[in-house]
């Protein structure tokens, strides 16, 4: 089990398309979204990669979940079990494969950002500069790296808890929609604002009053509340995953598969 097949899965082609678009936008974000000076080529590449990493917890989690649950989907989980590979190790390997894919996607985003930055520099008033001009600040790069790790953890936990790739992806998207719906309802029922931190996406909710003007979506969540929400939901997912992995009637290593 040295090579995870998730990298070659056609699903990642779609993820690559998403990463390319996000990276291209991230490469020119300083001009297009912030109105600032155009980036240097290295800055544009960094912007593209960082943009891909920042959207990973929202966009890439379904892909990670699908990659981590591939053995359950194809029925290979039982065979790995028979071969003596424990569930924890198997899913760890799948997560490692997904991590390599995520890193590749960030590099792809960086390439897209570089090309978009080149197009902008060649035609814009700021010219083509090779350096790190208008590159994302280093704290943002750190946050982006943390976002990639977070998306890996969420995708892995979802896959382990649910065991079905499509259901895991649907749950993640549905949880996001539910969190958004809760946010809009909280505008009309202020008491609900206090409970917003209990929603599944509260820990990574990107819309804050300082960032967006949309009153329906903007929620001021303290870092402590975000951390509490993340810990709480992680604990729930870990508990469900442990129970599922223990309950699944996989054959023991000494028992023939499917036979009596």
């Amino acid at each position: 089990m040295r090579r995870a097949p998730s990298v070659s899965d056609p699903m990642w082609h779609l993820a690559a398309g998403v990463a390319w678009v996000v990276g291209a936008l991230g490469g020119v974000a300083t001009v297009a979204l912030l109105g600032d000076v155009g980036p240097g080529l290295l800055g544009a590449a960094m912007g593209g990669g960082v943009a891909c990493a920042l959207v990973a917890p929202v966009v890439m989690v379904p892909f990670v979940a699908v990659a981590c649950a591939v053995d359950d989907r194809t029925g290979a989980a039982a065979h790995w079990h028979v071969a003596g590979v424990r569930s924890r190790r198997r899913m760890g390997q799948r997560a490692a494969g997904a991590a390599r894919s995520l890193a590749g996607l960030c590099l792809l985003g960086a390439a897209a950002g570089l090309l978009a930055g080149l197009g902008l520099g060649a035609t814009g008033p700021d010219g083509v500069v090779a350096g790190l001009r208008a590159a994302p600040p280093w704290p943002v790069v750190g946050v982006a790296a943390a976002a990639v790790g977070l998306s890996l953890v969420i995708g892995l936990l979802l896959a382990a808890a649910v065991g079905d790739a499509s259901l895991a992806a649907a749950l993640w998207v549905g949880a996001g929609l539910a969190t958004g719906a809760w946010s809009t309802v909280a505008v009309f029922v202020p008491a609900l604002r206090l409970t917003f931190f209990a929603m599944p996406w509260a820990s990574i909710w990107p819309f804050t009053p300082s960032l967006v003007d949309a009153p329906y979506l903007a929620q001021a969540i303290s870092p402590a509340a975000r951390a509490a929400s993340a810990v709480g939901w992680s604990a729930v997912l870990v508990a469900v995953a442990r129970r599922r992995l223990r309950r699944d009637p996989y054959p023991t290593p000494h028992e023939p598969v499917g036979g009596r």
Binding site: W20, A24, G27, V28, V31, A32, L33, L34, G35, D36, V37, G38, A112, L115, A116, G117, L118, G119, L120, A122, T123, G124, S166, A170, L177, A181, T184, V185, V187, F188, Y216
Partner: protein, 450 residues
């Protein structure tokens, strides 16, 4: 056969998921807080929810119908039907009717979702049938419009079913459906609306023509884009496209029937060098197209997006701000100068515009500056508090309050109007000063008045 195939499609997890998502969107649309429509309850919810079908529901329907149409060929049913003696036209008709059936299913899903959302809205509003007195205006329940919506949705389903039958794989059919539908979604008007030419071209596409008949519009929803395209022209374009599609489907159907063959076993045969070269050529072509598209995006999109940014993120404002000549910084200096050096000769200050310097002295401006000079403390509005770059409000506080007439003024406001020169680095200059206007004051009792 058609009903059986439609039932088989409705049992697919992807179709069920899509229809549930559609119903959820409709429920949300009928229920959402702050909605402009005042309608509630199952009856009106059914009408409101169906409106989603002209929006994001169109995408869902197109993908589902396209995949269903493609699955007849890609899953081998067409080949077996051909062997069994079914005529090619019958197979095309199967895909078309299947798409129409799924269109009907989409209408049902949207209607049920809308009814659920309407009932939820009625319950939340205290069983108010219209959602509260503020929204008591009865919405127009145009039944004929609803019937037109149903017919249009069924037609779109049929079109995409037929369209899907021409595509080899389900994934390609879904991709084509997304590519065809996304440009005409109302959400895309922000992008497409920049180029009326593109909007005009879209009205000639199959879906643009259907939208033109459906909503009596130019084929695409654009804010501020008034199209003169008539419904009759849209109907003619739609009919022409249907003829083209039917003709193309018949041409495709005349091709010899191909039975599904098992995949080539690994290790046997192999791809010839000519095939490998063709594959490499295709990949190189695709890569060069992607690279060119990204370079073009970088050259075209950012400047246009930058023009639409809020004023405080515009490059001209940033340049003035970096030079210390943004409007709030200019007003800050004027106020500071008035409070430290007095207002003598204020018309000659460099922050004052040339027009104000050369014109007659404005006594109201001098009065306002005097108020600022005598205030206990002042607060110049921060950038996020400003309504626009050319207007800065300064609040002046007085402790103890200053009596004016029968008012004890505690806080007054002075408004500065500024203009920017042609070069952003020249910065902003004051063109007029208005005020002072009471903001916080106490009314003095008549007994305390002198």
């Amino acid at each position: 056969m058609t009903a059986r195939w439609v039932r088989a499609q409705l049992r697919r997890r992807s179709t069920v998921g899509a229809l549930v998502a559609l119903a959820t969107c409709s429920a949300w649309f009928a229920w959402r807080p702050g909605a402009a429509n005042g309608g509630a309850g199952a009856w009106h919810g059914a009408f409101v929810g169906a409106a989603v079908l002209g929006d994001i529901g169109l995408l869902v329907l197109a993908v589902v119908a396209g995949v269903a149409g493609s699955s007849i060929g890609s899953r081998g049913l067409a080949a077996y039907l051909g062997v069994a003696g079914a005529r090619p036209a019958a197979i095309s008709a199967l895909a078309t009717w299947c798409g129409a059936g799924l269109g009907l299913a989409a209408v049902v899903a949207a209607t049920v979702g809308g009814m659920a959302g309407g009932v939820a809205r009625a319950v939340i509003a205290g069983w108010s049938w219209w959602g509260g007195p503020a929204a008591a205006t009865a919405p127009s329940l145009a039944v004929h419009a609803h019937v037109r919506t149903i017919l249009a949705v069924v037609l779109v389903g049929a079109l995409f079913g037929m369209f899907g039958s021409l595509v080899a794989t389900e994934r390609a059919a879904a991709g084509w459906a997304v590519a065809v539908v996304v440009p005409v979604l109302p959400e895309m008007s922000v992008v497409v609306g920049r180029w009326p030419v593109v909007a005009g071209v879209l009205s000639w596409t199959p879906l643009g023509a259907v939208r033109g008949v459906w909503f009596a519009e130019g084929g695409i929803s654009l804010s501020g884009y008034e199209s003169e395209v008539s419904v009759a022209r849209s109907a003619l374009v739609c009919a022409a496209w249907m003829l083209v599609l039917v003709g193309f489907a018949r041409t495709q159907a005349r091709r010899p029937v191909r039975l599904p063959v098992p995949a080539r076993p690994p290790g046997h045969g192999g791809v010839g060098s000519a095939d490998r070269f063709a594959s490499l050529r295709t990949q190189a072509l695709a890569a060069s197209v992607v690279v060119m598209a990204t370079l073009t995006f970088g050259a075209v999109a950012p400047p246009r997006l930058q023009d639409d940014l809020p004023w405080r993120w515009q490059r001209s404002w940033r340049a003035a701000s970096h030079a210390g000549r943004a409007s709030d910084q200019v007003v800050d200096r004027v106020v500071e100068r008035a409070r430290t050096s007095g207002i003598a000769g204020w018309q000659d200050w460099p922050e004052i515009s040339v027009a104000m310097r050369s014109g007659p002295v404005d006594p109201r401006a001098a009065d306002a500056l005097t108020v600022l000079a005598r205030a206990s403390s002042v607060h110049v509005a921060e950038v996020k508090e400003m309504n626009g770059p050319g207007e800065v409000v300064v609040l002046a506080s007085f402790v103890p309050p200053v009596r004016s007439g029968n008012l004890d003024l505690r806080v007054v406001a002075v408004r500065f109007e500024l203009e920017s020169g042609p070069d952003p680095r020249d910065g902003w200059h004051v063109v007029s000063v208005h005020g002072a206007v009471p903001v916080a004051a106490d009314v003095v009792a008549p007994t305390e008045l002198p």
